[in-house]
């Protein structure tokens, strides 16, 4: 699918750090106009008719590029996409003209019930075909390509017969979508399933990465006392994830990078420090091919 250029998008997302926009920070952002590259919002929080969320996002959008991140489309569900929800997503995109639109490789709706989590899918040809149909439908409806995010997972399926990377590559080839590489998710999933996060990043299709996410996780233990990490977006980015991020940038080159902090949201200053740290990695001289040679 060729890239559909939208001439109304006056400010593409720069290859800098952005921050997930939270209502707690609306006023401070408008008053102080922090030097952050862009903001990202969860589409579902702007599907109401009016009021404060739209008031503030409209004002902030005038000053910053925007990315829209869906959390409820349930692209990985076997069931058909919810057309009302897809229409609502289109409405948010039409209204705010985001430079990037992304969703998750996950499912969350089943039999008319919304399970408010990003649930895992088995990696096989059947699931892949279903996900591709759904992504085609999303891209046709929105009239633009979307980015698909790699998940953090806690279990695997016996029914999986391909790796996550094979699964994602096939989707990119068949739908022309881009990828949102969540580096924290890579660390979480690699730890939880005992594989090498660096090797995963090395083998990731770098040329299709349109955005990176960085967030916090919590430490736990699995059923057999093994290390288990939980992707909770409730703390600072861990040092080990910063290291993996620097490696990722050396592979992909500079890519717009989001600081995601959705629970126990801290003061703006804390998010700004995280964004500054990401910007420092992004602006380092590019050593991208050194590791490979």
């Amino acid at each position: 699918m060729s890239r559909i250029e939208d001439t109304r998008v006056s400010s593409p997302i720069p290859a800098r750090a952005g921050v997930g926009l939270k209502p707690e920070h609306y006023s401070e952002i408008l008053e102080t106009r922090p030097a952050v590259g862009w903001f990202e919002v969860h589409a579902e929080n702007y599907m109401g008719a009016g009021g404060a969320p739209h008031h503030y996002l409209t004002a902030i959008r005038e000053h910053y590029p925007l990315s829209v991140h869906g959390v409820g489309l349930s692209i990985g569900a076997d069931a058909a996409l919810d057309l009302n929800h897809l229409a609502a997503l289109k409405q948010v995109c039409d209204r705010y003209e985001p430079s990037l639109v992304s969703e998750h490789l996950a499912w969350s709706t089943h039999d008319g019930v919304y399970l408010n989590d990003l649930l895992p899918v088995p990696y096989n040809a059947e699931t892949q075909a279903r996900v591709c149909e759904h992504i085609d439908q999303v891209q046709e409806t929105l009239g633009r390509p979307m980015l698909l995010e790699n998940p953090s997972t806690y279990v695997r399926f016996e029914g999986s017969d391909m790796s996550e990377l094979e699964f994602l590559r096939g989707i990119v080839e068949r739908t022309g979508c881009g990828l949102l590489l969540d580096v924290n998710n890579v660390h979480v999933s690699a730890t939880n399933h005992a594989y090498d996060a660096v090797a995963y990043i090395d083998a990731f299709p770098h040329e299709h990465v349109g955005e990176i996410h960085l967030g916090g996780h919590a430490d736990d233990e699995g059923d057999d006392g093994e290390p288990l990490l939980i992707d909770d977006h409730g703390s600072a980015v861990a040092d080990i994830v910063w290291g993996l991020y620097a490696h990722t940038i050396s592979c992909c080159g500079p890519v717009p990078t989001l600081i995601e902090w959705d629970n126990d949201v801290p003061e703006w200053r804390v998010l700004m420090e995280e964004a500054t740290q990401a910007d420092a990695v992004l602006s380092k001289p590019v050593l991208r091919h050194v590791a490979a040679e």
Partner: protein, 256 residues
């Protein structure tokens, strides 16, 4: 049924039911059916939805205390899971659920407090409209005033209660300790409005609720006033009309 559909049906069932076994085919690298790992999904679903309810019903949560509220919300989530991923719409059935939830039956005013908080949420997200200004009253021709029909802002709601619901809500919406409230002090009616982006909750005078409800049903000003007077003979039309328009509840005046 496709294999994927079968997998997801089993997964969803086990996520929603705490006693269910880990579904067939779910594994970790170390074992089949890892119960603790699977429990993370179950926990994420419940805890996140309970947190949504806690944010939506902060006064109910304060009145019940955190632990009791979370236990109550968990039972609600079990029986009334959200149908939509747009979670700003979740919780409309909570007030009615509280009516029938035995552990809170000794707090008969609690469902009405929840109704007020739900109305607040609806008002917060209601469509934007500019209200008419109080000066518009002066332009009304007294001869035709009775036949006026009011268009109210979509945020406007009335919550009526046999308990002092507005006082309970406002005392418990502040950062400080609430003052003493006599739950048997008589009923209160609340008006929820949102003229700009800030939601406002007002205590309605006698007859006010009947008056606004009639106007919202597109009754003429004359018949709305009659209905209010029939309910309470101390109803003051001038004061109620001024209060309603002054609160930003009216977006247009039309002649019937």
């Amino acid at each position: 049924m496709s294999r994927l559909s079968e997998t997801q049906t089993g997964f969803a069932h086990a996520v929603r039911n705490a006693d269910a076994a880990v579904p067939e085919g779910v594994v970790s690298h170390l074992r089949d059916k890892p119960r603790k790992r699977f429990g993370i999904y179950r926990n994420n679903v419940y805890v996140s939805l309970i947190n949504v309810l806690e944010g939506r019903f902060p006064v109910v949560a304060r009145l019940l205390g955190e632990e009791f509220f979370k236990a109550t919300a968990r039972v609600f989530v079990e029986h009334h899971p959200p149908a939509s991923p747009v979670l700003m719409r979740y919780g409309g059935a909570f007030p009615e659920f509280l009516e029938t939830f035995e552990p809170v039956s000794d707090l008969p005013w609690l469902p009405d407090v929840a109704r007020l908080e739900w109305a607040w949420n609806l008002a917060y997200h209601a469509a934007d409209r500019d209200p008419i200004s109080p000066e518009a009253l002066a332009t009304i021709d007294p001869a035709s005033a009775d036949s006026l029909v009011f268009e109210l802002h979509s945020a406007v709601q009335v919550v009526r209660s046999p308990y002092p619901v507005v006082t309970i809500w406002s005392e418990n919406s502040k950062d400080r300790e609430p003052g003493q409230i006599d739950a048997g002090a008589g009923g209160e009616d609340g008006l929820i409005v949102r003229p700009g982006i800030a939601v406002d909750v007002r205590h309605l005078p006698p007859g006010g609720a009947a008056f606004i409800t009639a106007l919202s049903e597109r009754k003429t000003l004359g018949s709305a006033a009659e209905r209010a007077l029939a309910e309470d003979e101390s109803f003051d039309l001038q004061a109620n009309l001024g209060g309603l328009i002054g609160s930003g509840a009216v977006v247009a005046l039309e002649t019937a």
